[in-house]
């Protein structure tokens, strides 16, 4: 009798124990919360209709070496979608990135890139991160709207965790222009002219409606407008040859 009743209990216990092993926690580790990464902007609601990423911004895991915001693969492709209106944080030439760490994994390196350019790499030599992780990174002269790709390379797996942070870099002095041009070009030229035209030789500014022939200065260099448009972050004259030529 005893045996008859203890067997099912053991079976249930074994089943539960095996499930704990089989259903290992999702491989989730971390993401950048400040300046807000794309996944952070999805979770906070700043960008709507992001799909399941809102429940696990920390899970953007993929093999090391990708230059895509989702790390490649088929999950969370919304993060690569440049047609989404990702807010860009206004930053200077030096940016401090803060991570949220949901699993303190042994770490190889933390890398920060713009386009193909490595901005910084921090080698943790296998150490595990603590409660917080913070890096201060130079933008290496990049200006205007840029997507910074951060990669957290795990030491004991083949994978990395990916976080893209959209920034609008101001305060550039006589810095080299970025090698990448914006992925989007203006499709709808401004239909209305500014009520007061910008003064000749005025400084380029976001939100200004420019018309063909307007001359502005940007970082001390003069540019002539080639096509009427309203300036947005990322369309700085040196970045968009379709809109501006050196005067």
């Amino acid at each position: 009798m005893k045996r008859r009743f203890t067997l099912p209990a053991l079976t249930v216990a074994a089943l539960i124990a095996s499930l704990f092993v089989a259903v290992s926690p999702a491989s989730a580790h971390g993401y950048i919360s400040s300046p807000p990464s794309r996944q952070a902007n999805c979770v906070s609601g700043a960008v709507p209709n992001c799909g399941d990423i809102i429940y696990e911004p920390q899970s953007v895991e993929a093999p090391k070496g990708s230059t895509l915001c989702n790390g490649g693969g088929s999950r969370f492709t919304v993060l690569n979608d440049t047609s989404k209106n990702w807010p860009a944080a206004t930053v200077g030439q030096t940016v401090t990135f803060n991570w949220v760490i949901t699993a303190a994994h042994s770490t190889a390196t933390w890398e920060y890139l713009i386009g193909g350019t490595l901005l910084a790499s921090f080698n943790d030599n296998g150490a595990r991160p603590g409660a917080t992780k913070q890096h201060t990174v130079s933008m290496k002269g990049f200006t205007g709207r840029q997507a910074v790709l951060a990669r957290w390379n795990i030491a004991d797996t083949v994978n990395a965790f990916y976080s893209c942070v959209d920034v609008n870099i101001g305060g550039g002095t006589s810095s080299p222009p970025p090698t990448t041009s914006p992925t989007t070009s203006p499709t709808t030229p401004a239909t209305t002219r500014p009520t007061t035209p910008p003064p000749a030789g005025g400084t380029w500014a976001v939100g200004t409606a420019y018309k063909t022939g307007d001359v502005v200065t940007y970082n001390g260099v003069s540019y002539r407008c080639l096509q009427a448009h309203t300036a947005i972050a990322g369309w700085e004259p040196p970045n968009v040859p379709a809109l501006w030529a050196r005067a």
Partner: protein, 171 residues
Amino acid sequence: MALLVAGCASAPAAGAPASFGPTDVMFAQMALAQNQDGDQVAALASTRAADPRIRAIASSLRDRWKTDSGPLQRWLLGWQQPLTAPAGSHTGHGDLHALQPSSLAELRAVTGAAFDRTAVALLLAGLHNSVETTRMESTGGNYPPAEQLASSMTSAYQEQIRALLVIAAAQ
């Protein structure tokens, strides 16, 4: 004697609700453990954070966790399951997802803006891990009351995560 033992052993089987499964058990055990972890962070954050929004979120989470622990413990007792996961179930990977004692020590040691930043990071991390647990129950659970609680927890946590991310963005 044999009859007596048999009677005792068969009683829970007769009275136990039929409709719970391993995922429900795991959910209840993990949620209790995560709530205890979270409470250690929130207890500090609710009194020491400079930003009143952080104090308010931490207090609200503590209330929620206290309330939720009632049914979670009651279900496990009713199912005759331990309140904590079997030893060894977290030895592979899962322990990395729990609050590290060193992280708590770090939070205790810092002050000012660093305290607020660390508290937000730890609250967010804990809530993200909790949401994985509640979503696991919502998709794989068998016991309707537990599924309902999990769904309600997911919504509540997501709301606090949104609020914390707004704070984090300006830190």
